[in-house]
C-alpha cells in the first residue's frame, strides 16, 4: 500500500524539516522542500498526502507540524531496536552515526567473531561475541539487523538473525541474501554503486566551463 520510495523520501523530508526547524524557519512551501530534497514539488505534495498532514494554500506547511506528522508516520510503532553484525571499519562507521541517530531506532548491540573486538562498549553500543547473537537478539527484542560482515558469512548470519526474530535487514555485503518472505531486506551494495557511477561517468565528458 505505501511505497518503498515514498518512505525513503519522507525520511529525507524529515531531515530537511528538522534542519529548517533548527534554523528557525516556521513555514515551507512544497517547491522549497522539493528543492532541498532533490525532487519535485508535486512529488512532495503526493508524499505528504500519505502521512495525512494537510498544509495551507497560503502559508504552505508548518515546519514543526509536518516534521511531527512524518515522524509519527515513519515511527508509528514501538522503537525498533537494531543489532549490528561485523565490527570492521564499516561497522564502526555505522556506530559513529549513533549520536545523530533517531532514538526510535537505537543501536543496542554489535557482534563480531574476533575476541579482541568484543566485550566492550563503542559509542554507547555494547559489543558481544557472535556466539551470543541469538541470546542477545531474543532477550533484547531486537527486530532489525545490519549485516556488515564479509560476503561469505552474510547468508548464514542472516539466517541466524531471522531465526532469532529479526524482521528487517540492512545488508552491506556484496552478495544476494535469501530471507523468509516476512522479512524486509534492503541491500546497500557499495561496489555495485561505485560501478554504476563509473559507468555513467564514462558516458559523460568533463565540462570545466560550468557555473557553480
Amino acid at each position: 500500500m505505501i511505497s518503498d520510495k515514498t518512505v525513503a523520501r519522507l525520511s529525507v523530508y524529515r531531515r530537511v524539516l528538522l534542519d529548517m526547524q533548527d534554523a528557525g524557519q516556521a513555514h515551507v512551501f512544497s517547491h522549497e522542500l522539493a528543492a532541498r530534497s532533490g525532487c519535485t514539488a508535486a512529488q512532495v505534495r503526493r508524499d505528504v498526502m500519505a502521512t495525512g498532514y494537510t498544509g495551507s494554500p497560503v502559508r504552505g506547511y508548518d515546519v514543526t507540524a509536518l516534521a511531527g506528522s512524518i515522524s509519527e508516520f515513519l515511527f508509528h510503532s514501538e522503537a525498533q531496536k537494531v543489532a549490528l553484525v561485523g565490527i570492521g571499519n564499516l561497522g564502526r562507521a555505522l556506530m559513529a552515526f549513533s549520536p545523530r541517530r533517531n532514538p526510535r531506532i537505537p543501536l543496542v548491540a554489535a557482534f563480531d567473531n574476533d575476541p579482541a573486538k568484543v566485550n566492550r562498549v563503542i559509542h554507547g553500543c555494547r559489543c558481544y561475541p557472535v556466539q551470543q547473537l541469538e541470546e542477545v537478539v531474543e532477550s533484547e527484542g531486537i527486530r532489525v539487523g545490519i549485516l556488515a560482515v564479509p560476503s561469505a558469512a552474510a547468508q548464514d548470519t542472516a539466517r541466524r538473525l531471522c531465526r532469532a526474530g529479526v524482521v528487517g535487514l540492512l545488508n552491506f555485503a556484496p552478495t544476494h541474501v535469501w530471507v523468509p518472505p516476512h522479512v524486509y531486506i534492503e541491500n546497500l551494495d557499495l561496489s555495485m554503486a561505485l560501478e554504476k557511477v563509473a559507468f555513467f561517468a564514462g558516458l559523460r565528458a568533463p565540462q570545466k566551463e560550468i557555473s557553480l
Copy 2:
C-alpha cells in the same frame, strides 16, 4: 537509453558470474542467474539483451563469455580513476575494498583535512591534504569522486570535485547535494536506508516457526 537499474543488475550478474567461473561452472541458465541475483529470469534475459550477448536455448549462457560481455559493456570506456574525500571510518572501509575492486575503477587518491591522516599510503591509496584536491584530481585525470565527508562539507566538496573535472559522484553524506547537469550522482544515504528498514520492520510481526 540504458536504464540505471539495468546497469545495477548487470553489475550484480557480473559478480555472480565471476563466482561461478571460480567454481568451475561453464554454463548457466537465466533462471539460475536470476535465483542467485535476486530477480526473475525474464529480467535477466532483458538485461542481457542490453549487452548484445546471445545465449543458446540449449546450453543457456556461457559463463565466461557472458561475464566478458557484461564487463565490456560496463567498462567500455577507459579506466575511471576514483578519488575518495574523507578518511573516516567509512572512508577506510571503502579503501579496504580495494583488493576486491575492479582494476578498471582504481581508487588512486584520498583526501582529508586532518593533517594526521594524510601523506601516507593506505591499502595502496595515496592520502593527500584536502587543499591539494584540485591539483591531484586534474593531474591524475580523476573522473569519479566519493563523498565520505560530514554533511556540512558535502556541497562544497562536491563543487570543488566537479570544477576539477569529476563527472560521477558517490555521495554518502546524508544530505542532498546539487551538481551540474552533466554530472551523475548516486546517493547512498545510510541513515535513510536504516529508517526505511525500521519502518517496514515495524509493519511486520516476527515469525519464529519459519523454515530456513
